[in-house]
């Protein structure tokens, strides 16, 4: 007997349910918007959950100032098109101290320019819940993550004290000083994200599609040079190559893949057939064993 709904129908309904539960249970939620494909899907699901109302919470973008220019353009257009409220926050102190993705190790850079400002912004605006697009299939420590992921004061994640979640019941009662990260796409895979983008005909940042871009090869990884801030070695001469991204982050830390897939259909086909997991392209996750687990304990998304 065939199922009544496809797996995407079920995943969509589950995400809408989670959004509505969180919005009803928390005092002041915010949607963590990082501009990439997961955020695009997350935002679309949020709009579906509250239609025909305007989104009952703002978007928060942690800007490290090292995002690809195409990402910022896309962000601003999205906010205009859907009449959204956007908060952009940067760790000005880290910026002043000159913390950047090439002089500092990925773990220091991530902590100062991503984790710290995220915590600053959540505290500054008093958000008690933050929606994120994290998926359990991304990485092994995320595989144990809850849909409502509680953080103790200081936004720390304690894998040993996670609340059990049973059936589809979501308990959002906060303990003293606690906040929560909410993951409506917990049960999605990378392939689902692309399938859903295709099904719903969603716009994504053009960087996901192959184009001739100025690239260098560093440590065996293809880097697209987005501006002139990254100091290059004498032998690193930017060359035009046809590349695209599977995942988007800060440009000096995000490796591109050689590809000619320049439309949604070919990207989806390439992704459905992909033989490596997506975070291969994220340099921060390879820093050390258990890197993500440690970052999460410190408050990273």
């Amino acid at each position: 007997m065939s199922a009544q709904f496809s797996h995407l129908d079920l995943l969509e309904a589950e995400a809408i349910h989670i959004f509505r539960e969180a919005a009803a249970q928390f005092r002041k939620p915010v949607l963590m918007y990082s501009i990439g494909k997961d955020s695009t899907v997350l935002l679309h699901l949020a709009r579906k959950a509250f239609w025909p109302q305007k989104l009952p919470f703002p978007l928060l973008h942690i800007d490290t100032k090292w995002k690809f220019r195409d990402m910022i353009t896309f962000r601003d257009k999205t906010v205009r098109d859907f009449n959204l409220d956007l908060i952009v926050h940067t760790n000005e102190d880290g910026l002043k101290r000159g913390v950047n993705p090439y002089d500092h190790s990925p773990s220091v850079y991530t902590d100062v320019m991503k984790t710290q400002p995220l915590k600053q912004a959540l505290d500054k605006y008093g958000f008690d819940a933050a929606f994120g697009g994290a998926r359990r299939d991304e990485e092994s420590s995320r595989a144990k993550e809850r849909v409502f992921s509680f953080r103790s004061p200081g936004h720390r994640w304690d894998p040993r004290r996670q609340r059990p979640e049973m059936w589809n019941l979501l308990n959002g009662r906060l303990g003293p000083g606690e906040t929560v990260r909410v993951f409506p796409m917990s049960n999605w895979t990378e392939r689902d994200v692309w399938r859903y983008i295709a099904r719903e005909n969603l716009d994504v940042v053009p960087l996901y599609f192959a184009a001739e871009r100025p690239t260098i090869v560093r440590n065996g990884q293809l880097l697209v040079i987005d501006d002139d801030r990254l100091p290059l070695q004498p032998d690193e001469v930017p060359e035009l190559r046809s590349v695209r991204f599977r995942t988007l982050g800060c440009w000096p830390l995000t490796a591109a893949v050689a590809s000619t897939a320049n439309d949604l259909e070919s990207v989806v086909t390439e992704t459905l057939g992909a033989r490596t997991s997506e975070r291969q392209g994220r340099l921060i996750d390879h820093d050390q064993t258990g890197a993500m687990e440690r970052k999460k304990q410190e408050g990273y998304f």
């Binding site: 009544q4 579906k48 959950a49 049973m166 009662r173 459905l272 490596t276 291969q280």
Partner: protein
């Protein structure tokens, strides 16, 4: 059949917009020694769309016995890898050509009963693992009992390590017979035993050549065919209201996910809490309106008359069995938290979308999971399964678990820490107010006079009103006053 029928992507050109035929949630339970992580790792390795880097990780690895370490695909947290045991539930996702599989890997040790129970509550099917050398153990019995309690109706006994008993049919049949005896005691709809070897891959994703005497399905074959819990909406229509959505003009949509059954435009529906009925005028989604909303769909329902319905209500079909408006419930609860039950503590009861203060929990007995005998008891602590009677501060709309699973479950929430201290299923519900005579009536008038005088009639204010009523009741209860919320 070839040795490995791995579904390789190049062999099956993926279609754009490929949507899989539903989702099967698969729980795995058993102890470390039974080779649970290895079994699932093997299933992923042989039958799924595993990526090349993950495959390479396995190919590079070796266990003490010189085999690839398939369990690496499962055990997540650093602490767990170091200890070599699974503590928490881990979620894994894989696709075959037919289906999305969600593997819920749960710990087997007795001290993690709570994790297994919470994992099992999400499962459509459970694989119980035993070692062919040892057969059905006390632990297997315990696991079966937990599965039954949380509502898993399909179980597979994977008799693992058949290679270590020379693929003996006799051994397998003896274990299978024990398993049959065991399953008769529970409400399983479907229970089969499969002889496997996770390390060699026999009967995991391909038929074993070592056991021609076994004519049943191999593990993957069974999993691809069996029904998920989501298919075929059963039971009466129930829509727990999550929130009310408005377009600022004339649309007022009761938003929620259909918990069971279905509803069509024109149907007469009832909110049992307020006792009001109306007809469904519109079933709206952002994409388009629907004629019918079925179990699992997230919708917003507009009624033809604006009856006063808010979050926590359960919209039901007016012409069939209605939910019980219960002030008192009998339940089987699984204590999930390290802090034991303490009646002096304040607790709340969370159903799908409602939250009510608990006036009293009286534990009557504990269930011994191995003998399935009931021992009289008055308290309950972590990993215990107890029968309890719960008196609520105000009536809520529920069903018994036997009548309708989705609206027959709840969590007990610690009012102070917010922790989900227990999960429960409703075995009986008493209609009407609980009979706690002499209880203080916390009325709308009392609250409006002071505590809630700043609140109006908007949805947000009404939610806040409810919240303050709950908190006031909890405070009074902790001061020793029996409270009945009457708003």
């Amino acid at each position: 059949m070839t040795a490995v029928t791995a579904i390789r992507r190049e062999a099956t050109a993926p279609a754009l917009k490929q949507e899989l035929d539903g989702i099967l949630h698969l729980l795995t339970c058993g102890s470390v020694d039974d080779g649970k992580s290895t079994l699932i790792g093997r299933l992923l390795y042989d039958a799924s769309d595993l990526s090349d880097d993950q495959r390479a990780l396995i190919d590079k690895s070796t266990t003490a016995s010189g085999q690839p370490d398939y369990s690496l695909l499962l055990d997540g947290l650093v602490a767990e890898r170091e200890q070599g045991i699974t503590i928490d539930i881990a979620w894994r996702y894989f696709d075959t050509d037919k289906r999305r599989f969600v593997v819920i890997d749960s710990p087997g040790h007795e001290q993690y009963t709570r994790n297994m129970a919470s994992g099992a509550s999400h499962a459509d099917v459970a694989i119980m693992l035993v070692d062919a050398r040892h057969g059905v153990k006390r632990q297997t019995r315990r696991h079966a009992a937990i599965l039954d309690i949380v509502g898993v109706r399909r179980v597979i006994l994977a008799v693992n390590k058949m290679d270590l008993v020379d693929w003996s049919q006799e051994k397998f049949r003896a274990i299978e017979a024990d398993f049959r005896k065991l399953t008769l005691r529970f409400g399983f709809r479907d229970a089969i035993a499969v002889p496997v070897s996770a390390v060699t891959g026999d009967n995991i994703a391909h038929q074993s050549e070592h056991m021609p005497w076994y004519s049943g399905p191999h593990l993957l074959e069974y999993l691809e065919k069996t029904q998920a819990r989501d298919v075929a909406p059963r039971g009466p229509f129930r829509l727990p209201v999550q929130t009310v959505l408005r377009d600022g003009v004339d649309f007022r949509g009761l938003a929620g996910t259909v918990a069971s059954g279905y509803v069509s435009v024109g149907d007469r529906v009832t909110d049992v809490l307020s006792g009001q009925s109306a007809h469904v005028l519109r079933i709206a989604t952002m994409d388009h309106d629907l004629e019918i909303a079925r179990q699992g769909q997230a919708v917003a329902i507009q009624l033809d008359t604006d009856i006063d319905v808010a979050r926590g209500a359960v919209i039901s079909a007016a012409d069939s069995a209605l939910p019980i408006v219960a002030g008192q419930i009998e339940a089987r609860i699984i204590w999930l938290w390290e802090t034991p039950f303490d009646n002096a503590n304040g607790y709340l009861l969370r159903t799908g979308t409602d939250l009510a203060p608990i006036a009293d929990i009286t534990v009557s007995s504990l269930l011994d999971l191995e003998s399935l005998a009931v021992q009289p008891a008055t308290t309950v602590e972590v990993n215990d399964i107890a029968n309890a009677s719960i008196t609520l501060g105000r009536p809520i709309a529920v069903d018994t678990f036997a009548d309708n699973q989705p609206t027959g479950v709840f969590l007990i929430v610690d009012a102070l820490t917010g922790a989900s201290v227990a999960g429960g299923v409703i075995t009986a519900a008493t209609a009407g107010e609980a009979s706690n005579e002499g209880a203080f009536h916390l009325t709308r008038e009392l609250l409006t006079r002071g505590l809630c005088r700043d609140l109006g009639e908007s949805d947000e204010d009404r939610r806040e009103f409810q919240r303050r009523a709950n908190e006031a009741a909890l405070l009074l209860q902790s001061a020793g006053v029996q409270v009945k919320i009457d708003i």
